[in-house]
Symmetry: C2
Amino acid sequence: MSENYSQMWTELGLNLKSHEKLLDVLGQAYRDIFLAQKNRPEGMQYFDFVMSEIHGLRVKELLDAKKHDRIVVGAFCTFVPEELILAVDGICIGLCTGAEYGFDEAEKYLPRNTCALIKSIFGFKLGKVCPYIESVDLLVGENTCDGKKKAYEILGTLHDKLYIMDMPQMKSDDGRNLLKAEYKKFQTKLEAISKKKINSENLKKSIKIVNNKRKAVQRLNMLRTAEPTPISGLDALLINQVYFYDDPIRYTNAVNKICDELENRIANNVGVFPEKTPRILISGCPMAVPNWKIPMIVENAHAVIVGEESCIGERGTQNLVDDSKDSVAELLEGIVDRYFKIDCAIFTPNPSRLDHILHMAKDYKADGVLHYCLQFCQPYQIESGIVENALEDVNIPVLRINTDYSQEDTGQIRTRVEAFIERISS
Amino acid sequence: MSENYSQMWTELGLNLKSHEKLLDVLGQAYRDIFLAQKNRPEGMQYFDFVMSEIHGLRVKELLDAKKHDRIVVGAFCTFVPEELILAVDGICIGLCTGAEYGFDEAEKYLPRNTCALIKSIFGFKLGKVCPYIESVDLLVGENTCDGKKKAYEILGTLHDKLYIMDMPQMKSDDGRNLLKAEYKKFQTKLEAISKKKINSENLKKSIKIVNNKRKAVQRLNMLRTAEPTPISGLDALLINQVYFYDDPIRYTNAVNKICDELENRIANNVGVFPEKTPRILISGCPMAVPNWKIPMIVENAHAVIVGEESCIGERGTQNLVDDSKDSVAELLEGIVDRYFKIDCAIFTPNPSRLDHILHMAKDYKADGVLHYCLQFCQPYQIESGIVENALEDVNIPVLRINTDYSQEDTGQIRTRVEAFIERISS
């Protein structure tokens, strides 16, 4: 960290001692997992810097923005429309939910068989180690899965800025109406707390900013179809993770810059791994910072991850919002259209996700699919059988991994992953 | 069973051998648990008979009705409005989901950490031992919890009559609109398959029938407030379970008849257990036939269950539909109003459930509340902490039990229940 942020963290109410320990562990993990990689693109230096300052400089930026009357909105889900937040000159931050931290405390509030992602929200809050959750003017919970929906009732007793966004469960007309009504309520809420009005001009501008961010990531994804692949799955995942934290314009520039570099690599047939390295598509639950366990195992076992069918990945970044219209109402329709296409397993049925996985497996020339589930995540766990059947019908090998954030099953998973790589290589 | 139904079961496609074994086990359990009780009201003979013929005579009645062009609709949830089914002269059957049957087969389709109730649906279907699920013209699945919602996608590949009813997650205006839209779609579906139209006359008549059924059970509940209580919790639960199977008018008469008897008992100060027997309110997940494990443990430990805050219990039978209006549209509004009040844990937030539990604990003079959860039922498990806090705030002792349908933890639960009874008796 380039500066001493102790005062800032103290003012945010963090537990400095616990927080320092956490940063030490994460810093070491980052060095071991990311910095130890070979053949990294130079453009990753930007993301390394962002990560090194993730609890420092970026938080300072947020607090500075707040001093200039900008609001900071925290979110746990890709269904929260960043466009509306930017339109009131707010900042949208995806809150990290990827570490086994404070689970003992979390389990005083939640059943043990709650997924690690939800326990992580509570662990970070209760342990007072997340500067973001302490900085927000609004914390958006969404009724996606049962676990989150019910856990937010309890989180509301621990955090006074919690706002609940309802969610549909089916992609019907009534479902779309419900989502649209919720986005309108969200607009009203944002306007109230920011004291700024959404108009067609600021909304259109915001839509373009977020579209450009998505286009940059989509460009990155396209480059990963190359053989040999010019970037590791770990680094690509990191870029997808930083998507939720960074200033969107600065981020877009950084992603486009690394894409220029990757295009050069491809033109020169330079890969990050040797040619013929087995190519794996990851599909399933999101991997939030610092949940790097499975990609680390896969790439240490000499396969490469070529795509993420995940909320932190293509499920979250595919599809743009129509920015061609001129009224707030029409632009909002475009936003609803775009977000309503997200094929999260909370929807029933969810056939477009199957189509997407099949397309991704083909486009990224995947030799196999690793379906990743958090334990006790019922939507993705139940859907994993459906996914497996759809992939096996077209002879794409599938490995289903159910795990949590602990390291205890690393050895067992490594054995299964190595066997899977062996199988798809032969 | 008074008749040989082998031919009927064969024609329904049941596996006769497995089915016979199942009936043997259930018959033995019924004798051990229900018939072995002392001081049972005479009126229970009717329910004993219904249970003895539950796969026989009642199924024959359904098949006879089908021959006379009446439809049979199967449901898994109290959100399915029986009034609409009766209005097209149909029969509504709550499908039994209370036994650990065929779980090995079920787990080929569902994750192991799916709740026992959902596995039971699959086990009965895959094992070909449920005459009801094989008899229905329509099988209604509802998007209540994640487990059911996603499991129905798979059940649809095993049962060709499955119909999905969407559900709201919040008690907002938009939530109510969604439920109303679903009930209208359901009306259209029922009219299509029954070839009968719902009009104000048949709907009003149906509402009265179901209201009368509810009133009879509510009357039974009221009588359980007496000290000493005139009926065991096991028998009262059984009456609540038969609610979902029996002809509604016949059932209503039988419940009212036993209520007459219980009123006499109360007048003569006759109880089923000695005076001062500790009184326990059960709250939580539904206990479907033949899930009698917890009440058996409680009442064998010399406490009495005085009420069930459960879908198979007061959560499912409280509140009547307004039958004073004269148009189909108005009557439907009344139906939506009534069902939208059901305080299932799938709703967020769900404060009326807390109010209801507190009221029940007071009305039934409960010495303690046993909160019962099926393992992996996230909505009720997460809500159980909220319930416990609300009860402890007013000094009502709570015992939280998480279990499934197996008998393996019976000893452990018995020990905890006995300690709890000891605690609330002193």
